[in-house]
């Protein structure tokens, strides 16, 4: 399941929703991305996320489908917010549920690595010296590369 929304989300409620009444799950991994109050030494007062409505949903669905092809998951969830946010607030949530922990961990990392490099979101950080668009991190491209040769994980 994927959701793109302006409002905040409740991590605990989302996890409980995904696992509700299931007894075949052995491992649940959640990743939450949050707004940090500093960037390159400068203090950030607001982080604004712009996105591409329509394409965002398509990309997140594609990435989620790809993860479910590669791994045997009992459930998966991606929520990504847009609009202005304050330091400490949630930006993104990824949850994966599987029979075994390695599967849940790998799938969550895969979802984040692909989301970081493919989902059409752009961050602008605002501080006392005005706003600045965040540069893409080279380490995110490196993180993506490790999945290129990865085979589907056996259960």
């Amino acid at each position: 399941m994927i959701r793109v929304q302006q409002e905040n989300f409740d991590i605990g409620a989302e996890i409980e929703g995904l696992r509700a009444d299931r007894t075949d799950i052995g491992a649940i991994v959640s990743f939450t991305g949050t707004v940090r109050d500093t960037a390159k030494g400068a203090t950030i007062s607001t982080m604004t996320l712009e996105h591409y409505p329509g394409m965002t949903e398509k990309e997140l669905e594609r990435i989620e489908a790809e993860a479910n092809e590669r791994w045997s998951l009992q459930g998966s969830l991606i929520i990504h917010r847009y609009g202005p946010m304050k330091p400490g607030e949630n930006i993104v949530l990824v949850v994966t549920a599987s029979a075994h922990r390695q599967t849940a961990f790998e799938a969550a990392e895969f979802l984040m690595d692909f989301l970081k490099t493919n989902a059409p979101f752009w961050k602008k950080e605002e501080g006392k010296d005005g706003g600045e668009w965040v540069d893409a991190r080279e380490s995110d491209d490196v993180a993506l590369k490790r999945w290129e040769t990865a085979e589907k994980v056996a259960e």
């Binding site: 996105h51 591409y52 394409m55 490099t117 989902a119 979101f121 602008k124 965040v134 893409a136």
Partner: protein
């Protein structure tokens, strides 16, 4: 051919537009051709597409490279490398 163009993040700020609909000249075949044509339209486009190699493109909401043929696309988006998550 009439097509919708979308601009995001600093590409949007530099062009000064979120979106526009344009009629493409017949010799604009690929994304690269389109970028070259856009740059001929004024200084704000020159500024937005100055470093065209860092600009990412989506054709009908799918990531494509600059040598992709535009063909019958209905919308083309230009934006910097994504930074969500």
């Amino acid at each position: 051919m009439s097509i919708k163009l979308l601009y995001f993040a600093w590409v949007r700020e530099k062009t000064g537009l979120g979106e526009e609909t344009v009629d493409l000249p017949g010799d604009v075949q690929t994304v690269s051709d389109l970028i070259a044509w856009l740059r001929s339209r004024g200084p704000e486009y020159v500024s937005a597409f100055e470093q065209s190699d860092v600009i990412r493109t989506a054709l009908d909401q799918t990531h494509v490279s600059h040598d992709t043929a535009i063909a019958n696309a209905r919308e083309i988006a230009f934006f910097p490398p994504v930074t969500g998550g």
